[in-house]
Every structure is written in C-alpha cells, then in structure tokens.
C-alpha cells in the first residue's frame, strides 16, 4: 500500500491567512471572539463569533486556499490530480435568493452578492476543478456531512492514494460565519453564554462559530520525492465511525469516538502510547467535551493521562465543515514548531474532564505522532493520525 504525505497547505484562521496568523493566534493562545459585525444579532441569544477580515464569498475563500495550497506544494495546477472537498454551500446565496422573492430586495448592504448556485457544495467542487485544470479522469468528490466533512475528505483522499487510485489529491474544507448558520445554532441553544469557548473547563457553556479552513495537498510518498517536494507531514491513518446513539448528541461514554480512534491507530499501525498529542474536537459544549474525554480514555487507556490534549476551537471557534481540515493543518504546524497549542479560556477542572488539556498557555513539546479528532451530528466521528516529516524514512 502506498504511503501518503502532505506537501502543501493553504489555511485561514480568524486572524488571517497562512502560518504567521495561525502562529500568532492559535499557537500563542490569543482567542479571536468578538461581537458579530457581519449581521444584526438582535434577534438572537448569541452575540459573538470569531469573524475574520476576509471580505470575499465562500467560493472565493475556497479558491484562495486552493491557490495557497498549490503554491505551497510547488504545483502549478490540478492536472493529473484529484479533488476532495468537505464543505457546505454558501448560505448567503440561499438567503439572498429568498430575500429577493419575499421582499423584492436583490441585495443587502453588508453582503456581497452571491448567486444561489453557490449554495450547492458541488458547484464549489466543479469551479475549483475547472479553474485549476483538472482532467476528466481525476476523482472529484464533495462531502457535506457537517463537522466531519473535511476530515472525512482527508480520509477519502488518503484512501485514494493508499489504494493506488490517485497520486495527488487536494483535500480540504472551509466555512464563514453566516446569519443562517448562526440562527440555526442559536435556535439549538448551542452558543457559549459568555462569548468565550472554554473547552473542557468546568464552567464551559457552549460553542461559538468562526471563519476559516484549509486545503491540503496529499501526495503519494514516492511521487512527492521524485519531484523534490517538501514533505510537511505524513498522514499515517484514519478512522471513521458512528455512535448509533442519538441524532445530535454524542454518546455519553464516547463509544463511537473511541472506535474511530481505535480504527485510526490500527490503520496507522500505532499503539496508544505512541501518540504525543491529541488535537481534540473540543467544541466547549458540556456534552461534547465529556464524551470526548471518555472516548480518549476508552481508546488510549492509561496513556490518556499522559497524552496532552487541546482544543484550538477555544481560539478559532467552530469552523463547521472546515474544522477537520483546518485542525489538521494546525496539527502539522504544531509539529513543525514543536508547540502544543493551548486550550484558552480554561478556568478549572470538571470532574468528568480530568486529562491534561494544555490550559491557557502554549507548551514546548517534541511532537512526532499526533491524532486529530472531529465529530458531527448523527454521531459521526473521525480520527486522523499524522506523523512528523522527520519520521518519513525508507
């Protein structure tokens, strides 16, 4: 079976594009939550999110991240490659469509005009594929399974290469805070009441949304070596599972997430005590963080107590479909820098969350094997295992 490496990354966090923005916010532990400015939050209970300064549409964000990933990989285009996205469409397009029909207004002063066709996730797929010269033989897949979409996309990209069906796959996802999604999460009473994400902390009260995403170039190892590409990390394995428990609540024992971790470790050929860091889903909701902690204990056993865990959503907010790709990119950066990103806003231990969550301050560490966890509605869970590029040998 082929080995899969990451040779290019384009990413955006609420603080901006690229490694520098991620370093100065996520790795430094500087949260990005502010009162929402993109729309009027008067009708809602929630008021805060981690908005970025990016002023383009969702598709424009996808195109920019694609360009940055290809530049990072030293690739001119996607000819000969495949594309796997994990996104939802642009809700601004849908909202503008209905506003025009219900009120006759065709625009909104604070919104860029977005055609309703951009609400279709696969329209993004086709646009990026065509803009970057993909051939008909290249695989084109678009996943829209909520908060695991882009980590599932990375898993699919991994399998395409591992099973010999592709040599290069651009994978990723992205999301921007929109009024539509804000309203949905607000109706579900999911938002943190104090405007901060305090993942794993005793006083955590919920999640918040954020802008961001990442596109990553996955490549078969020898293919990357032949063209002299810089190897940024190895994708060692992955796991996907379902809780079979509830439509929108995680399994209280973390059974499904534990299964995803076990599958990922088996796929990577690793034992639990070989992990140096767990990049948690860590939404900051009471249910998620308790369930995720239980899952880590179930999957890792005693090693759970020795392995640092953190939530970068405590800085970026929840990037929804883009969260898996962004947190994978951040994991690669953490390995490169030798820094554990902190869980900021942590204010005290919850009896059900009693592991090492790297509270509030970054920590130097030698990171060679990292697992990135994500979960979504429907009880779906993913785990992606990453290896440091210096470990790529043979």
């Amino acid at each position: 079976m082929s080995r899969v490496v990451i040779t290019g990354i384009g990413m955006m966090v609420p603080g901006g594009f690229g490694e520098a923005a991620a370093r100065s916010t996520v790795l430094a532990g500087v949260h990005q939550f502010r009162p929402v400015t993109r729309f009027d939050t008067t009708p809602f209970r929630g008021k805060a999110a981690a908005e970025s300064a990016f002023g383009g549409s969702l598709l424009e964000l996808g195109l920019r991240l694609t360009q940055e990933a290809l530049d990072s990989a030293g690739l001119a285009d996607l000819s000969g490659g495949s594309l796997v996205l994990g996104i939802q469409g642009d809700y601004n397009g849908l909202q503008q469509y209905w506003r025009a029909r219900m009120t006759g207004e065709h625009g909104h002063p604070s919104q860029q005009t977005v055609p309703v066709v951009e609400f279709l996730p696969a329209y993004h797929l086709q646009t990026i594929a065509e803009r970057y010269g993909m051939s008909p033989d290249g695989k084109r897949l678009c996943l829209n399974n909520a908060c695991i979409a882009s980590s599932n996309a990375l898993g699919v990209g991994y399998e395409l290469i591992r099973q010999g069906k592709a040599g290069t796959v651009l994978c990723g996802g992205y999301s921007l805070v929109t009024e539509e999604m804000f309203a949905k999460f607000d109706s579900g009473r999911a938002f943190a009441q104090d405007g901060r994400v305090r993942a794993f902390s005793a006083n955590r009260s919920g999640m918040l949304l954020g802008d961001g995403g990442a596109m990553l170039v996955l490549e078969e190892l020898e293919h990357a070596r032949r063209r002299g590409a810089l190897i940024r990390a190895e994708l060692l394995g992955w796991g996907l599972s379902c809780d079979a428990y509830h439509v929108c609540q995680p399994h209280p024992d973390g059974a499904g997430m534990a299964l995803a971790i076990e599958r990922a470790l088996r796929s990577a050929g690793l034992q639990p005590d070989q992990l140096d860091y767990i990049h948690a889903h860590g939404t900051g909701t009471p249910l998620n963080d308790r369930s995720e902690t239980a899952a880590i204990k179930q999957a890792l056993g005693d090693a759970a107590y020795r392995t640092p865990i953190s939530s970068t959503k405590s800085v970026t907010g929840h990037i929804l479909e883009g969260t898996g790709a962004l947190e994978t990119a951040l994991s690669v950066l953490a390995m490169k820098e030798g820094v554990l990103p902190p869980t900021v806003g942590y204010e005290g231990q919850d009896a059900s969350c009693d592991l090492d969550y790297v509270p509030n301050e970054p920590r130097r560490a030698r990171l060679r094997k990292v697992v990135n966890l994500n979960a979504s509605f429907g009880g779906n869970n993913t785990a992606l295992v990453l290896g440091h590029p210096e470990e790529v040998a043979g």
Binding site: Q126, N145, F185, C242, L259
Partner: protein, 283 residues
C-alpha cells in the same frame, strides 16, 4: 478509472411511481405529473421529505435481511441539490423574523437522519454524505469502492435522494443551460459488496461471471470511467434529475439479472454543464 468490482446485493427505490424498479422505469419513459413520493414520516424530522426518503431506503435494506452485519455496513448518501425542503423552510423563516425551529437545526445536515437510522439499527460503521454536480452515480460508486476495501467494511449501502421544488427546478434549468429536466421527490439505493471471487476487471472477460441461481444473475459494477463533454453531449435530458445515473443503473441491473438486457452494459452519470462518467455493468 476505477476497477474494483462491486456485486449488487439488493436494490430499492421510492418515488411518484411507488417502490418498484419496474415502476421507476415506466416513470422515466413517461413521467407523470405527480411529483411527491409516499414515504412514512420519521419522528423528529419535519417539513421535508428528504429524511423520510432516506430512512425508507435504509429500512428497506435492513428489513430485507440482506445486510449481514450492521456494524460492518458503510452508508454513503448523495444528493445534487440536497435537502431543499429543510434549507428553504429555515431560510424563509429567518427572513420572516420567525425564531428558528430547533428541529430544523439538526435536520439541516444529512448526517442527522443517518444518525437516527444508526440508532434504530445499531449501525456503527462508516457513514458519509456527498454532494454532487450531476447524476451522482460516480461519486457514490467511487466512495463505495474505496470503503469496500477497508477492513471494517463488509457491505456498502449507497443512496441517492432528490426533492422536487421550484427552486430546484430553477437551479436545474440554470445548471443544464435550459434543458427541461423534471425534478420529483425520489430516492434510489443499492446494497453493494466487494466481489469475493475472481476479480472481474482483472480477468477482463465473462469468465469471471458468477451466477446467482438458474433464473437470475448476479450483477457486478466493474468500472467507472471519466468522459469528456463531447462524449455526453448527445444524450437527452432525463427526468430524474440528480439521481438519473443511479436509477438507470438499478434498472439495467434488474434487466441484466433477468436476462432482458445484454451484458456488459454501460450507464451514464452526466455532470451538469457537460462531461461525466460511464459505469460498466456485467454479469
């Protein structure tokens, strides 16, 4: 080009025609005006036919006895236009100043109905939802082929689902450059498993055919091959927009298995705007 061979174990559909493959074939040849499908409501899911259609497909296969091990079943759900019922309802509510219904919150993603089914049937395997820009067949099969190779997967259930709405019709007209394509509420699903015998694609001939019994043949999906826009330009618009490829495959597989259609045969997954994929079936 993908050459993993998948055996078709079971098929199901639901649409304005009812729930038979033959009824679907008749509808495609002479579409009726009726656009709704009769699917039972699912508790906790409101305002949209999307979740009930998906659940009916899963229930059909679970009840058929063809799913060997629920813990080793992967499900891949695909739609071109998605759950327009939920999305449009939520968007209109927001613009009308109505407080969002929390039920629409979780219903707004396709995972949720998969999660509901998972609880009902103890499904702990891989579940993935796809969006596609055409007939969806290739996306479903490519993913099914990948998943079928994984050690925790024994069977893969692929489901295509589309809803009828005015907005869907407008989008289809735009995406297909004005070709008239009827949208209706419908779902089609196939239960697949990796060929356990000789690999048909490697044999490259009918020598690898496996027969089910004296009257019907096992049908395999052999190959998914990309096509240029020129290859697909002469095919007329067909009525099950977004799900036509999967419907055509189910009909062809049914006919091949009964000896009413010669094998190998090709069905097509046309992308909106041109190009697409050809899928080869064989006995």
């Amino acid at each position: 080009m993908s050459r993993t061979s998948l055996r078709i174990v079971d098929m199901a559909c639901v649409g304005p025609w009812g729930d038979t493959i033959e009824g679907m074939a008749s509808y495609i040849e002479a579409p009726a005006l009726q656009a709704q499908a009769a699917a039972a409501q699912v508790p906790g899911f409101i305002e949209s036919a999307f979740p009930p259609l998906v659940y009916q497909m899963i229930r059909s296969h679970m009840d058929s006895g063809n799913v060997r091990d629920p813990a080793r079943l992967a499900i891949v759900l695909a739609s071109a236009l998605g759950d327009t019922g939920t999305a449009d309802c939520a968007s209109r509510n927001l613009l009308a100043g109505q407080v969002h219904n929390p039920l629409l919150f979780y219903q707004s993603v396709p995972n949720s109905i998969l999660g509901y089914a998972a609880r009902q049937y103890g499904l702990t395997g891989l579940m993935t939802a796809l969006a596609h820009a055409g007939d969806g067949l290739s996306a479903l099969l490519e993913t099914a082929m990948l998943y079928s190779e994984l050690p925790d997967v024994e069977q893969v259930l692929i489901i295509g689902v589309e809803l009828r709405s005015d907005r869907a019709d407008e989008l289809l007209a735009e995406l297909t450059e004005g070709k008239a394509m009827r949208a209706c509420d419908q779902a089609v699903s196939l239960l697949l498993e990796r060929s356990s015998g000789e690999d048909v694609s490697e044999a490259g001939s009918s020598e690898a055919r496996v027969w089910a019994d004296d009257t019907t043949a096992v049908v395999y999906i052999e190959e998914v091959r990309g096509q240029s826009a020129a290859d697909s330009s002469d095919r007329p618009a067909r009525p099950l927009a977004g799900n036509q490829g999967l419907a055509d495959l189910a009909i062809a597989a049914s006919r091949i298995s009964r000896g009413e259609m010669a094998a190998p045969a090709a069905v097509y997954d046309d992308l909106f705007g041109g190009g697409g994929y050809a899928v080869t079936l064989n006995r």
